[in-house]
């Protein structure tokens, strides 16, 4: 657990005259949010374990502009996008992996029109490819037989039709994957998307994350798995609100795999 993480930057790769196989786009939540940083580290441990030649942009990374765009600030979004694209094109980035579905969606779908063409993968897709290539193995470990329900992030699922990669990984843990009544293309939002993460909700009779947490609790899970740092926060808050944090953990798929391997 205490072994030092190897996190090379693009600048270091360039100085050494080398090119990594993939850029890990950490994202703002993954860089600054205490809960999300744990996901970042778990994913890096897996990358290290699989000997993936990756790099991060580090201090050269900046917000993709997703929350600005969803809030309606197209100027700010495009300023961010063009700046990021300039940096990545200068480094001749080809492939990007990210632990955030919002960054994933924005870079994959909205950057090409502004001059940024990359192959973009969500970390669950990337981990699945490592598995397929025999570079990473998954053991059930402490999660063997556990009831796990997966909450689909809107920007991974409906927005980009990625439903199976995270589920395939969970199944590899020998865990019992249980589905909520609304899942996959009909999965209910956690309430954070569209820049809602950064503001109070409009008046209503319930918070969206509470509604979604209740749906998750109906499956009587031991773990609620997520694939997005924002969903993770919303579901964690929901579980706390229901005073279930003692029994039910909210974990990213990458964390589950890293923990199962005792990394």
């Amino acid at each position: 657990m205490s072994e030092l993480l190897k996190v090379p930057t693009m600048a270091e790769f360039m100085a050494a005259g080398k090119q990594p196989e993939v850029l890990f786009w950490v994202g703002c939540a993954g860089s600054f949010d205490d809960r999300a940083k744990k996901i970042t580290k778990a994913f890096v441990k897996l990358l290290n374990k699989a000997n993936v030649d990756f790099a991060v942009l580090g201090t050269e990374e900046s917000c993709t502009g997703d929350p600005a765009k969803r809030a309606g600030n197209e100027f700010l979004f495009q300023m961010q996008a063009v700046t990021n694209i300039e940096v990545m094109n200068a480094y001749e980035i080809k492939t990007i992996v990210t632990t955030c579905p919002h960054c994933f969606n924005t870079i994959k779908n909205e950057y090409p029109g502004l001059g940024g063409d990359y192959r973009v993968m969500h970390h669950t897709q990337f981990l699945k490819s490592l598995l397929a290539d025999g570079r990473l193995s998954i053991e059930g470990g402490q999660y063997k037989g556990k009831r796990i329900t997966f909450h689909d992030p809107c920007y991974l699922g409906r927005a980009n039709n990625v439903y199976e990669a995270p589920r395939d990984l969970i199944k590899k843990l020998d865990a019992e994957l249980v589905e909520m009544k609304s899942c996959k293309s009909r999965g209910l939002c956690c309430g954070a998307g569209g820049a809602q993460m950064f503001k109070d909700a409009e008046p209503g009779n319930k918070e969206v994350n509470i509604e979604r947490t209740e749906q998750a609790l109906e499956t009587k899970p031991e773990i609620i798995a997520a694939g997005c740092p924002f969903c993770n926060t919303m579901m964690t808050d929901g579980v706390k609100n229901k005073e279930k944090e003692g029994q039910i953990a909210v974990m990213d798929v990458a964390e589950l795999i890293a923990n199962a391997k005792d990394l």
């Binding site: 909205e110 502004l114 809602q196």
Partner: protein, 443 residues
């Protein structure tokens, strides 16, 4: 004298279709008030989508009960229209059941129309019960009060009456055939209307002919009236579902358009070689849009406007919306209905002002759709996914947010803070960009 029915029929047909054509022209004019966007790429995928989603009803059956009932009414509507073709030819030529020589094929056709008519009746009654007795939640939302509720029921009554007339027409025709009345040669199989025969027991041939003719006339007149009702109703979806699914979004749902006008500005700002004080080149003024985002229907794209006319207010979008489910004001269905209602208002304004829109001091934002509704959206795409005919309420919401933010600086305060943070330090929170990699060394 003997041509009078044919002349009357031709007049009814011309008036009915003519008035409808006039309204279709108006409808097209209104849709074209929208911004021009190109949606003609990837034609093969578009045809496939239309075939699967509109013709094949693939999204309707995601909710099995409503879906199957709808498929019955839809198939009934399409197939029974073959009968309308015969009615029109008969009406214009003064024949009776002109397709009858087709023999067995005709028997099978008439029999299947009858079975479908019966099934449509059953389905329509089930729909009515769902709306008025079971009171499904999605039919009771605030936006469904008044006209939308009546509209839904009127359509159902129309269908009951039309099917009833069709079966009455067949039953009396069958009785006349059995009686050997002149002009009523034996043709067709009547598996459903034969059970109506006791109703006409003991009536003379002349009375039966009056009933048969009346039912025949009311049936075709009813169809013409119903055709013309479409324009004033949510029921337009029976036509617009086809272009709407053809022009539906092909890109991933998460991909929002990048505003071209903004791209130009941003590129200019980022280009060190641009002289900020240079006079704009000739014609540059017109290249810039009058405003960013949308505050009224004319700012939306023609696709958004066609979406609005296509909406049949089923409410699947609203019932899947996380904001709506948790009691917020936002209802994606209301967004579509408001857009249509405002567009109709603008259209009428143009009609009464000699083809020019005269400012009426109103707009879609504020007068129809509140800021509160717009800011409640999580952009989760559940509404887009739920729509059985590829309507995209989210696209309208985002364009209106763009107007609020870029033209009015009217975002909620917390969002302004978030955006200021991104501008200043490249993250939605007030952390220093230079600290982005600190996590690496934290325990």
């Amino acid at each position: 004298m003997e041509y009078i029915p044919q002349i009357l029929f031709a007049i009814a047909l011309i008036v009915g279709i003519g008035y409808f054509a006039r309204n279709v022209k108006k409808l097209t004019r209104n849709i074209n008030l929208g911004r021009d966007v190109d949606a003609n790429d990837n034609k093969s995928q578009r045809w496939k989508n239309m075939t699967m989603i509109a013709l094949g009803q693939s999204k309707m059956v995601k909710r099995p009960i409503a879906g199957i009932l709808h498929v019955i009414v839809y198939v009934g509507f399409v197939i029974i229209n073959i009968e309308v073709l015969e009615i029109i030819i008969d009406g214009l030529t003064g024949n009776h059941r002109i397709f009858a020589p087709a023999g067995t094929i005709y028997d099978v056709l008439i029999a299947s129309f009858e079975v479908l008519a019966f099934l449509v009746l059953v389905a329509v009654i089930a729909f009515w019960i769902r709306r008025n007795v079971i009171k499904l939640k999605r039919f009771l939302s605030a936006e469904m009060k008044g006209w939308p509720k009546n509209d839904g029921n009127i359509i159902l009554y129309f269908e009951v009456v039309l099917m009833g007339l069709f079966l009455t027409m067949n039953a009396t025709d069958y009785q006349l055939q059995l009686n050997g009345a002149t002009g009523y040669t034996e043709a067709g199989l009547f598996p459903v209307s034969q059970f109506l025969l006791p109703l006409f027991d003991g009536l003379s041939n002349s009375t039966l002919i009056i009933v048969e003719r009346t039912a025949w006339w009311l049936h075709i007149l009813g169809i013409l009236i119903f055709l013309n009702y479409l324009y004033f109703s949510k029921h337009l979806h029976i036509l617009l579902a086809f272009p709407n699914t053809y022009y539906g979004k092909l890109k991933p749902k998460g991909q929002f358009d990048n505003l071209e006008a903004v791209t130009k500005e941003v590129k200019m700002m980022m280009d060190p070689n641009v002289d900020p004080f240079a006079a704009p080149p000739e014609g540059a003024e017109t290249a810039m849009p009058a405003k960013f985002g949308a505050s009224d229907v004319q700012d939306l794209s023609w696709l958004n406007l066609m979406n609005a006319y296509s909406c049949t207010e089923c409410g699947r979008c609203t019932s899947e919306c996380p904001a709506n489910q948790t009691g917020k004001k936002l209802s994606p269905r209301k967004i579509m209905m408001d857009t249509r209602d405002r567009l109709e208002e603008v259209g009428k304004n143009i009609d009464s002002n000699k083809g020019e829109f005269k400012d009426d001091g109103k707009q879609l934002i504020g007068d129809y759709i509140s800021h509160e509704e717009l800011w409640a959206c999580t952009s989760c795409n559940a509404c887009v996914e739920a729509c059985p005919i590829s309507i995209d309420p989210l696209d309208i919401i985002v364009q209106m947010r763009q107007y609020l933010v870029m033209e009015q600086s009217a975002a909620p305060m917390e969002l302004n803070n978030m955006m200021t943070n991104i501008e200043n330090n490249g993250a939605p929170w007030p952390y220093n960009q230079m600290d982005r990699l600190n996590w690496k060394n934290e325990a």
